[in-house]
């Protein structure tokens, strides 16, 4: 961190003393006004979807979409919930997301623990492999991955067709493989900030590597783990691509990918589409409102390091 010192000295040298505009109340007002307008513009698409979803199709067909009047009810929600069999797809998502997030965090924390707490010759290389892998465009891997998924034999309880293709576990695995990169990076950065002396203390106490990991380091990593869990949940939940490629059975699609398939069934009833979209967005919105802090922390952990 040598940059700040250099940076502070420079402005002093070449900045002409401009007439100082101290922040005045009118300026603040302007700023407030600007931010209010911007926020409303930003929320407008979602509010519009919400408004549309509350109106029966017949009313909007008669009155036009930009109108007030007619009925307001939750019928579109009821219809899309039942017609589109949303509960089934929500369950599919759950079956994929929960193991994916847990396993990603478990595996990533192990690697992070090993590379950050012990000295290996390949530490840096390993981190590079993980981080670069996470940044690869998904399309680069799909062809061979697709074939791998059709070729690898998977035992019965994990896969009902003996393959990874068209299986919950297949979707979970590719998420794990990709997200391991990001989580390892974040966790190893975090673990580096934990003093090494703790390891020594553990050794003195007679603890082996695994107990050091589980008993000492992991509890200390609760903040980044919570943040990452929140973030990973949102990302895996929101994934559209992998299920489109690697799932075939319409019945097994996770909710985000299923929504696209349901479009056909909705004919051209935008009100129903709006209601369906909001229902599908609901879990992430709830996570957003309840765990806002964790979410932001997760995003920023990766960038601000710790």
């Amino acid at each position: 961190m040598t940059a700040p010192a250099a940076a502070t000295s420079r402005p002093a040298a070449d900045v002409a003393p401009v007439a100082r505009r101290r922040r005045t109340p009118p300026g603040r007002m302007l700023l407030q006004g600007f931010l209010i307008v911007t926020s409303l513009v930003w929320l407008a698409p979602i509010l519009w979807a919400l408004y549309t979803s509350l109106r029966p199709y017949a009313d909007t067909a008669r009155l036009g979409y930009v109108s007030i009047g007619g009925d307001y009810n939750l019928q579109n929600y009821v219809d899309s919930w039942t017609q589109a069999e949303l509960p089934k797809y929500f369950l599919n998502t759950l079956i994929i997301v929960v193991p994916a997030v847990i396993l990603t965090l478990m595996l990533a924390s192990m690697v992070a623990f090993a590379v950050s707490r012990y000295s290996w010759r390949f530490n840096l290389l390993l981190l590079m492999v993980f981080t670069a892998g996470n940044l690869l465009p998904q399309q680069v891997v799909i062809t061979p991955l697709y074939r791998l998924y059709l070729a690898l034999p998977i035992p019965r309880p994990l896969s009902d067709n003996g393959l990874l293709y068209d299986q919950y576990i297949g979707i979970a695995i590719i998420h794990i493989a990709f997200q391991l990169g990001f989580c390892t990076f974040v966790l190893s950065n975090y673990m580096k900030t934990i003093p090494r002396e703790l390891n020594e203390a553990a050794v003195v106490d007679g603890a082996g590597v695994f107990r050091t990991y589980l008993e000492i380091i992991m509890p200390l990593c609760r903040p980044p783990l919570a943040a990452l869990a929140t973030l990973q949940f949102t990302w895996v939940y929101n994934d559209f691509f992998w299920a489109i490629i690697l799932m075939k059975s319409g019945d097994k699609l996770p909710i985000t990918s299923a929504l696209n398939n349901l479009k056909g069934q909705f004919f051209i009833d935008n009100n129903l589409v709006a209601a369906g979209s909001i229902l599908v967005a609901l879990p992430t919105l709830i996570v957003f409102f309840v765990l806002q802090k964790q979410f932001i922390k997760g995003l920023t952990l990766g960038s601000t390091k710790g």
């Binding site: 478990m106 067709n161 293709y165 106490d205 008993e215 004919f267």
Partner: protein, 425 residues
């Protein structure tokens, strides 16, 4: 550091939590694993509401007839087609929905379908020769059981024509006159939509067959005629004559939306497969729908009067788990009774089997059968008559959209581009 003293019990607890998580994961992935051994699985692309119900009711009927319980696994129509390749190689359902023509022969040729000549030996007498040909692979064996077909025609609302005193046009000039008249009446003469890339193929096909005849269509699709042939340019010139009467913004509109504008009397006519009728969910409106064949141009092909009337049906995957059951199911589907079950719920097609009881046909269906019967030659459809990699999103879908986005572009360069692409495959 007393706080760090390790407590074995907590360690145990943590290990237990980890273990439980693993068990949950394993259990979670095993959900939905088993199915009854006597049943047959059917992969279906009937994802839209009307045909989905129709297909289910047909298989339910067959379950009663044959004791073969079908488990339907529905995939969205477009996605089903996209993933068909991997699907058939991986773990396909025993039976799957598919299309006659080149598209059927392609997968049969790749060894991804089971020969069902023995089924045909039993049910063959129930189909015309044309259906048998459409079900036969390159090796002369049958791989396909036709369920129904549907013609591509000009659909309109009877009440609209009545109220405005419109006459059914049979020639190109009558057709254009009618379109002019509709424009004067503030109607869009023809609905038009090509957001999904394939509906415009129907327009190309009909103009091509009206202009150049059925055999040219077949040869062009098979690659023996070239896209750079001046006769192909004629087709696009003809299309340009039609463009002023077509709904604008077609590339952003789905066929469902196009059909709605015809149903809502915003557009006077719509050239599409009769499945457009699925969009008329109100039976009264469905009864008000009628159609006529695309007008003839006044040339040597008038008498032939070829149309697209694609056949949909079922195929058997390469190694079905329940071969006997699947064949029994196919035999049932080849009967008129079963097909009528489908059509009862979706009267937008006509049965393929000879013994289908057509007395229950709606006027809509009777007309379909009549038009198909009056056609001298039946094509499948552009994307069913040519190789799939040429027809798809990188090929003809894109090229036709390119034409529609800029109809005034240099046709020679445009057609050379199509031929170059075909040659690169």
């Amino acid at each position: 550091m007393p706080a760090l003293a390790l407590r074995p019990r907590r360690l145990m607890a943590r290990a237990l939590v980890l273990g439980a998580a693993l068990v949950l994961i394993v259990a979670g992935c095993g959900i939905g694993a088993t199915e009854a051994p006597t049943s047959v699985t059917v992969g279906s692309n009937y994802s839209d509401e009307v045909p989905k119900a129709a297909f289910a009711s047909m298989l339910e009927y067959c379950a009663g007839e044959t004791d073969v319980e079908a488990t339907i696994n529905t995939t969205e129509h477009g996605k089903f087609q996209d993933s068909i390749n991997a699907y058939l190689q991986a773990t396909p359902d025993d039976v799957f929905t598919w299309f006659a023509g080149y598209r059927m022969r392609f997968f049969a040729g790749q060894g991804l379908a089971t020969d069902i000549s023995d089924v045909w030996a039993n049910v063959g007498s129930n189909y015309s020769e044309a259906f048998k040909t459409a079900s036969t692979g390159d090796d002369g064996k049958q791989y396909f059981i036709p369920m129904y077909n549907y013609p591509w025609v000009v659909i309109y609302r009877k009440s609209l024509f009545q109220d405005n005193g419109y006459e059914i046009p049979t020639t190109w000039s009558e057709f254009k006159d009618l379109a002019e008249q509709m424009q004067d009446d503030d109607l869009v003469p023809m609905a038009f939509a090509d957001k999904d890339g394939w509906p415009a193929m129907g327009t190309f096909d009909i103009l091509n067959m009206r202009q150049n005849g059925y055999q040219f269509h077949v040869d062009l699709m098979a690659g023996t005629e070239k896209w750079t042939d001046p006769r192909v340019a004629d087709v696009f010139e003809l299309w340009k004559e039609l463009l002023p009467y077509l709904q604008t913004n077609a590339l952003g509109r789905t066929w469902q939306e196009g059909a709605q504008s015809m149903i809502n009397k915003e557009a006077g006519m719509y050239f599409l497969g009769t499945f457009a009728g699925e969009q008329a969910s109100d039976p009264a409106i469905h009864d008000d729908l009628d159609f006529f064949p695309f007008p003839v141009l006044g040339n040597e092909w008038d008498a032939e009067n070829a149309i697209d009337a694609p056949i949909d049906g079922l195929m058997l995957s390469k190694s079905p788990k329940n071969l006997a059951g699947a064949k029994k199911l196919l035999e049932c589907v080849a009967t008129g009774e079963a097909q009528i079950k489908f059509l009862e719920s979706s009267p937008n097609n006509v049965a393929a089997a000879k013994d289908a009881d057509t007395s229950g046909y709606t006027p809509f269906q009777k007309k379909m059968a009549e038009i198909i019967g009056n056609s001298g030659a039946i094509a499948q459809f552009l994307d069913r008559d040519t190789r799939p990699d040429f027809a798809g999103g990188n090929g003809m879908q894109k090229f036709l959209q390119d034409f529609l986005a800029d109809p005034d572009q240099d046709l020679n360069a445009f057609l050379t581009g199509i031929q170059t692409f075909y040659d690169s495959l």
